[in-house]
């Protein structure tokens, strides 16, 4: 049997190490998302594929992390087929529900068109029927509902109405149940949080803060232009400071959307959160570039490489301020719900989609992204899911992902973006080597090393 060096290896430049004579590199095998520190000598042998010169131990490790693979393997085919097998085996039924088309905020970069509509009684029944129907085709062991917006907490009445019905459905099918909420945080009062967790099975909440008050309020203000940062942050503090917060079983993450207008505010926000001792209360803090809502918002987004460079500084800032974020990507066999055959997104009008970013956005109305509407009868909902073939398209060399070394840990970024001709690569693509160097520093010298680099 013959071997070859996998195409899916990322190797850093040489790193000097005061403690040892040899220079080293970090090798990241994206097929398994496992890393290994290697000497330059070993690197040289790998480059030459001089397998018989490799110590058995090194060879076995490299083989185990799939940095070395069988020579005859067509790797991209393997990766895509593994992703597809993973999707087929997934026993968790994931559905996204947008209970209302309303949001209190008027963020300049938001492409959604908000209105006061909520999911009505008939739509609720039909959505339940639609989700129920999925159990006939596959044996699930878990039902997971994501409450998305507009602002889902404006639709709290719908969450209250639907949750017991979903829980009962899960129980009937011997499934466990949980849910998550992606919210602007304005209505996330302490008692609402407790209700969500204790009554509605919410185990994850994501709140967006676009920088410190000054920057956040300049973009995430109410529709009437009023500030929101202090209200949101007070809500968060009330929750985080509950003595039982950690034992309630619901995590809260903070997302910070950036473009060039607010990127300078990320570090002050990290410092602000740290000053309130939230390091071990926030599940994770992450910065996301503004994406396209079918509008021009992404054009203001930092150039991807610039964003990736900044992201390293933001990671270091987190370490210096006592946060301990992970930064190496894990494998991503399922890029998003659009490549699964059973996950759907329901909006407040009863429209059904296969992507979370298409509801309430004018440019997607009357496109194939709207699979149908539950009011027109469930049988009228299109079986054709436009993004479902994405993995096959990658296998057919239709996107740069087909040759990209990051494919196993990226999954292809965002299928919809590639379809629209927008490069979908996440920051990892551009800063993975820097992240591997941080990983090396962390491994060699512990967390202090990262905090010092920042200084």
């Amino acid at each position: 049997m013959k071997f070859k060096l996998s195409h899916y290896n990322i190797v850093t430049d040489s790193l000097s190490d005061e403690q040892s004579e040899s220079t080293k590199r970090v090798l990241f095998a994206t097929r398994t998302a496992k890393s290994m520190v290697i000497t330059n000598r070993l690197y040289d042998k790998l480059q030459r594929e001089a397998w018989d010169e490799l110590a058995p131990n090194d060879f076995d490790k490299l083989l185990a992390i799939e940095a070395i693979v069988p020579q005859s393997e067509v790797e991209v085919k393997t990766i895509i087929e593994r992703n597809q097998a993973k999707i087929k085996d997934d026993k968790s039924l994931y559905q996204v529900i947008q209970p209302t088309a309303m949001c209190q905020l008027g963020c300049g970069y938001c492409g959604q068109k908000h209105s006061k509509n909520q999911i009505g009684e008939i739509a609720s029944e039909r959505i339940l029927e639609r989700v129920e129907s999925k159990f006939a085709f596959k044996e699930y062991n878990h039902l997971s509902i994501a409450w998305f917006g507009s602002e889902p907490l404006v639709g709290l009445a719908q969450i209250r109405d639907l949750t017991p019905k979903f829980k009962e459905m899960a129980q009937r099918h011997n499934c466990t149940y949980d849910s998550k909420v992606v919210t602007n945080g304005l209505s996330l009062k302490e008692h609402i949080f407790v209700e969500l967790v204790k009554k509605h099975g919410v185990t994850k909440i994501e709140v967006t803060l676009d920088g410190t008050a000054e920057y956040h309020d300049a973009r995430r203000h109410t529709k009437a232009g009023l500030s929101t940062f202090n209200l949101i942050f007070k809500n968060l503090l009330d929750i985080f400071n509950r003595p039982d917060f950690k034992t309630l079983g619901c995590t809260i993450s903070i997302r910070c959307n950036v473009d060039e207008r607010n990127s300078m505010s990320v570090v002050p926000l990290i410092e602000f959160l740290a000053a309130h001792n939230l390091q071990d209360k926030i599940e994770y803090f992450y910065v996301a570039p503004i994406h396209s809502w079918g509008n021009e918002a992404h054009l203001l987004s930092h150039e991807k490489e610039e964003f990736a460079k900044n992201e390293i500084d933001w990671i270091l800032a987190q370490y210096q301020n006592g946060f301990r974020p992970g930064f190496l990507p894990g494998i991503k066999p399922v890029v998003c719900l659009s490549v699964t055959p059973d996950s759907e997104v329901f909006d407040a009008f009863g429209n059904v989609f296969d992507c979370t970013e298409t509801p309430y956005v004018d440019v997607y109305a009357n496109t194939e992204y709207v699979l149908g509407n539950v009011h027109n009868g469930l049988s009228t909902i299109s079986k054709h899911r436009p993004l479902l073939s994405f993995n096959d398209e990658v296998a057919n060399n239709e996107y740069p992902c087909s040759t990209c070394k990051m494919l196993p840990v990226c999954g292809g970024g965002c299928p919809k973006s590639w379809r629209e001709g927008i490069v979908a690569c996440p920051s990892n693509k551009f800063n993975i080597k820097e992240k591997l160097m941080l990983f090396y520093a962390l491994k060699k010298k512990g967390v202090e090393a990262l905090a010092q680099v920042y200084e």
């Binding site: 185990a64 393997e73 087929e81 097998a85 085996d89």
Partner: protein
């Protein structure tokens, strides 16, 4: 109350759960355990070149991963890994010992995936192929594979049980056990090698013996009304061997107590020995105790000292046993029925 029944009350009053676990019993299949694996690895190293060994280990590892995914009920991912590794195996010459060595892992794994997909016939055929595949290798010095062949008998037994063919499954276990304990050649397949069987360490024989016995005992609990027939089909006449390890001694004692129960000649003697067994034996044998508890409840009912209070003490004792819940529940349901009858 007859005075010679009184010892039973005392014994039940003093019943204590023995938490001790000597940890000798392998979890899962022995064939994935250390003794077997280490010996096989050693033999392989002497047999193939270093480069061949790399390939072989890679392929075995991959079949193992496919098996793990199938066990986790990730059947598509298992199939995917299988397709990947089959493509590599196809590059080897099927007429070489190396190919046969690959098949040592490949055939049972493929059979397992077929079993998980309810393709029982095809799975059984592959297991027989696995038994045959080992013959030439054993002749070439891979004596340890005799246990791999016995493992396939166990897998065939599992196939039968899964299809509800209990007696057929029990009879396969019986053949395997008689081979291990008495060196009586199994009627299934051919070329069994007693010399190879004897070459393996006692600990391996003992572990295989336990693996073959304990799993069916759990299954029989779910068919308790048929227990005598099943016991005889799987374990009849297994009390004439010389135990070579302490685990074998425990098994021997259990077989003797069970036979005493099924003979139904001396109820008190059975109760005395059974109660002693369940209070003295370590927790790794809890499944044996659970099986006896069902019989104890029957025997207790026949005595003059039977009271609900004592019956309940037995039930309380059972609840401490470290056995899968499904076994415990079915046994306790039976015990309650005896109580109500």
């Amino acid at each position: 109350m007859q005075s010679n029944d009184l010892f039973i009350l005392e014994a039940i009053d003093n019943l204590q759960y023995n938490q001790q676990n000597n940890g000798n019993i392998a979890r899962g299949d022995l064939i994935h355990g250390n003794v077997y694996g280490e010996i096989l690895d050693g033999l392989v190293k002497d047999y193939v070149s270093n480069m061949e060994l790399r390939g072989l280990n890679y392929i075995w590892g991959k079949y193992d991963k496919a098996l793990t995914e199938a066990r986790r009920n990730n059947l598509e991912q298992s199939q995917q890994l299988l397709s990947e590794v089959e493509a590599i195996q196809a590059e080897y010459d099927p007429n070489t010992p190396l190919y046969a060595l690959i098949n040592v892992a490949a055939l049972p794994m493929k059979a397992y995936l077929l079993y998980r997909n309810s393709a029982f016939k095809e799975a059984e055929s592959l297991l027989f192929q696995a038994i045959e595949n080992d013959i030439a290798l054993i002749k070439d010095g891979f004596y340890i594979l005799e246990y791999h062949r016995i493992q396939q008998l166990h897998n065939i037994n599992r196939l039968h049980f899964k299809q509800g063919k209990l007696l057929e499954g029990a009879s396969v276990i019986h053949q395997a056990l008689r081979y291990i304990l008495y060196e009586h050649l199994p009627a299934m397949s051919s070329d069994w090698s007693i010399k190879s069987l004897q070459q393996a360490p006692d600990s391996l024989r003992s572990a295989m013996f336990l693996q073959l016995s304990l799993e069916p005992i759990g299954v029989f609990l779910h068919h308790i009304l048929q227990e005598k027939e099943l016991f005889n089909a799987a374990f009849a006449n297994l009390t004439f061997f010389e135990p070579r390890t302490s685990d074998e001694a425990v098994m021997l004692q259990w077989f003797e107590i069970k036979e005493l129960f099924f003979k139904a000649e001396d109820n008190n003697q059975f109760l005395k020995e059974a109660i002693e067994f369940i209070s003295k034996t370590g927790s790794e044998f809890d499944i044996l105790k659970l099986s006896l508890i069902a019989n104890i409840s029957d025997a207790l009912k026949k005595t003059s000292v039977y009271t609900i209070e004592y019956h309940q003490k037995i039930v309380a004792f059972s609840s401490q046993l470290k056995v899968p819940d499904r076994h415990k529940q079915v046994c306790l349901t039976y015990v309650s029925r005896v109580l109500e009858s």
